[in-house]
Amino acid sequence: MPGRVIQISELTKIYKMGEVDVRALDGVDLNVDEGEFIAVMGPSGSGKSTLMNIIGCLDRPTAGTYLLDNVDVSKLDRDERAVIRNAKIGFVFQSFNLLARTSAIENVELPMLYGELGWSREKRRAAARESLRRVGLAGREDHYPSQLSGGQQQRVAIARALVTNPAILLADEPTGNLDSRTSEEIMGIFQQLNDDGKTVVLITHEPDIAQYAKRIVHMRDGLIQNDEVGKQKRPTLMSSRA
């Protein structure tokens, strides 16, 4: 019986734009179980970015509850959320967001520097090396982001997200800056990690990309409109798999 990783109920987020209240989220309910691969879709303005920010503990809801790994994180302050992000969430962004002039392995080590684990340098190195191996970048440890292709940079970002063994991988348009072939490779990696048991939450506006998830949620006007379990698309090119 898989555990429930994300438990969201009656989630509301209201932005004040001058005198007007904008209801970015208008009472969202969403549950995600361990081992799921869920895609959140929707046009811009649908509230999917706001939902992602709250799921990622970058932001707090105005009302409602959000249990991540059975911990209520909806009322935590800045520093408490930083600790949760570090321990439970692995971010993958559209623009990779690697530190320039910092080698691949050092980028992957970064979350461990801020972690509560207090790992030794050797242990961090080893974990980062293993993480890079999982995304198929063994041997590229000392490359700098500028020496890597877009797909490789995104793999470094995935390795960084994985390294602390978080409860969820949260990918925000991870293929938005990649060509279709590389996109397929990256989605393949997510599927592989999901096959190994990792929970993946994917935010995208591209239906093609959403097809790689097992479950697709459509958002519109701050509400979940549609929640369906689809037939998962598998990449045709598997050359990138480690």
Binding site: G56, R78, A82, N97, T102, P111, L113, Y114, G115, G118
Partner: protein
């Protein structure tokens, strides 16, 4: 606890990397601190050296030393030399008997001349004094003897040479017993004075010829008045008393009515020292204010660059926050960067300051005293400037919203 120390260590290394990436910019940022700290070190070192050097030269004047000049200090304090000296050797003669606080008295007559010995000649100053002179100035002969009271009474043509004169006229030594010619008058060298070095004006005190004042007045200068009286008080505590006695004695001798200005004035060794200390203090205050301003400007420079750096690296800050950096992690990273800039600047400043002080010391022949306290002080000030001016940009960085920071282009 140990873990958190290790983690902070890791984060501070990040700051170091950022500095080494922008070497030129980092150096320019440090420049203000470099100059400020360099100034502090140099000022303190040179100031201490100068104080020591002044103390030494003032002590070399002699103990409990008082000078009496002809001329008057007017009520406004301006010194006026009326042209004609009214001071005679007789003023000096009676002084010892009339003033109990006075230990030694010597008149002084000054002249300048070209001195010839064989084929060599040397232009120097001639000072006519009495036999009390070596006692007043604590200045003994290293060879031969000082001239005697008999020589003074008889206006004998004898001379005692300063070391510089010996070096120039008698390169092989052996000056005692030789004859030198001053303005064509032959003088017998009876002694050589020990080396005394420069005075506080930088003049070489050894570049002189000492002769009986009677001889100088009659044979060389053709004067009937004297240029100065030098006096030594019985003890340090009686310098003021001696000055009062001399004042009363000379006013009576010169028949100066009460209320009238004296036709002479006095300076004691202590007063000279005070004047010197005062001008030294002004110089020091001036240089220290330059240093303070420079440190302030340097600090503002650091703040400016750190603000630019925070803006430039907004994205980086967002990434760090997203993967779990707390506000204080980011704060420490940027604060450490600012403090490192300041401290490295401080180190370079210390090096430059020490080098500059040694250079100045070599040039002015001052003893240079670089104290650990001044190094520690300027270093501490540099670190403080780093923390003070680095704090605002660092806090700004730590308060960024991770969502906005991640979106920043």
């Amino acid at each position: 606890m140990k873990n958190s120390v290790i983690r902070m260590g890791n984060i501070t290394v990040v700051g170091l990397k950022a500095i080494s990436r922008n070497k030129l910019r980092s150096f320019l940022t440090m420049l203000g601190i470099v100059i400020g700290v360099g100034c502090v070190i140099a000022v303190v070192a040179i100031g201490n050296g100068a104080t020591k050097s002044v103390e030494a030269t003032i002590n070399s004047l002699g103990t409990n030393f008082i000078m009496i000049f002809p001329g008057a200090a007017t009520q406004s304090g301006a010194r006026i030399f009326t042209g004609q000296s009214t001071m005679t050797p007789e003023d000096a003669d009676g002084m010892k008997a009339e003033c109990p606080a006075v230990a030694y008295v010597s008149p002084m007559v000054r002249s300048a001349a070209q001195i010839v010995s064989g084929e060599l000649n040397w232009g120097t100053s001639i000072q006519g004094v009495s036999t009390d002179y070596p006692l007043i100035r604590s200045w003994n002969v290293s060879e031969g003897d000082f001239f005697t009271d008999t020589d003074v009474k008889a206006a004998s043509k004898v001379a005692v040479l300063g070391q510089t004169v010996v070096d120039n006229l008698f390169p092989n030594g052996d000056a005692v017993g030789q004859i030198i010619r001053i303005k064509n008058v032959p003088f017998k060298v009876v002694g050589v004075l020990e080396k005394k070095g420069g005075n506080m004006m930088g003049q070489d005190q050894d570049d002189t010829v000492i002769a009986p004042y009677t001889t100088v007045m009659k044979r060389l200068a053709g004067k009937t008045k004297i240029d100065m009286i030098q006096v030594s008080a019985v003890s340090g505590s009686q310098v003021q008393e001696a000055q009062n006695e001399i004042e009363a004695y000379l006013r009576q001798r010169h028949r100066i009515q009460p209320g009238q200005d004296s036709d002479f004035m006095m300076r004691s060794q202590e007063e000279i020292a005070q004047t010197q200390a005062q001008s030294m203090g002004i110089l020091r205050t001036l240089l220290l204010s330059i240093a303070a301003i420079s440190l302030l400007v340097g600090g503002i420079g650091i703040m400016n660059i750190m603000l630019v750096s925070v803006t430039e690296r907004t994205r980086e800050i967002g990434i760090r926050m997203a993967i779990g950096a707390k506000g204080r992690h980011v704060l420490m990273q940027f604060l450490f960067e600012a403090v490192t800039l300041a401290i490295v600047g401080g180190l370079i400043g210390v090096a430059i300051g020490v080098a500059a002080s040694l250079g100045v010391g070599h040039f002015l022949k001052w003893p240079i005293v670089v104290t650990p306290a001044s190094v520690a002080l300027s270093f501490g000030v540099a670190a403080f400037v780093g923390i003070f001016f680095g704090f605002y940009p660092a806090r700004k960085a730590s308060r960024l919203d991770p969502i906005d920071a991640l979106r920043y282009e």
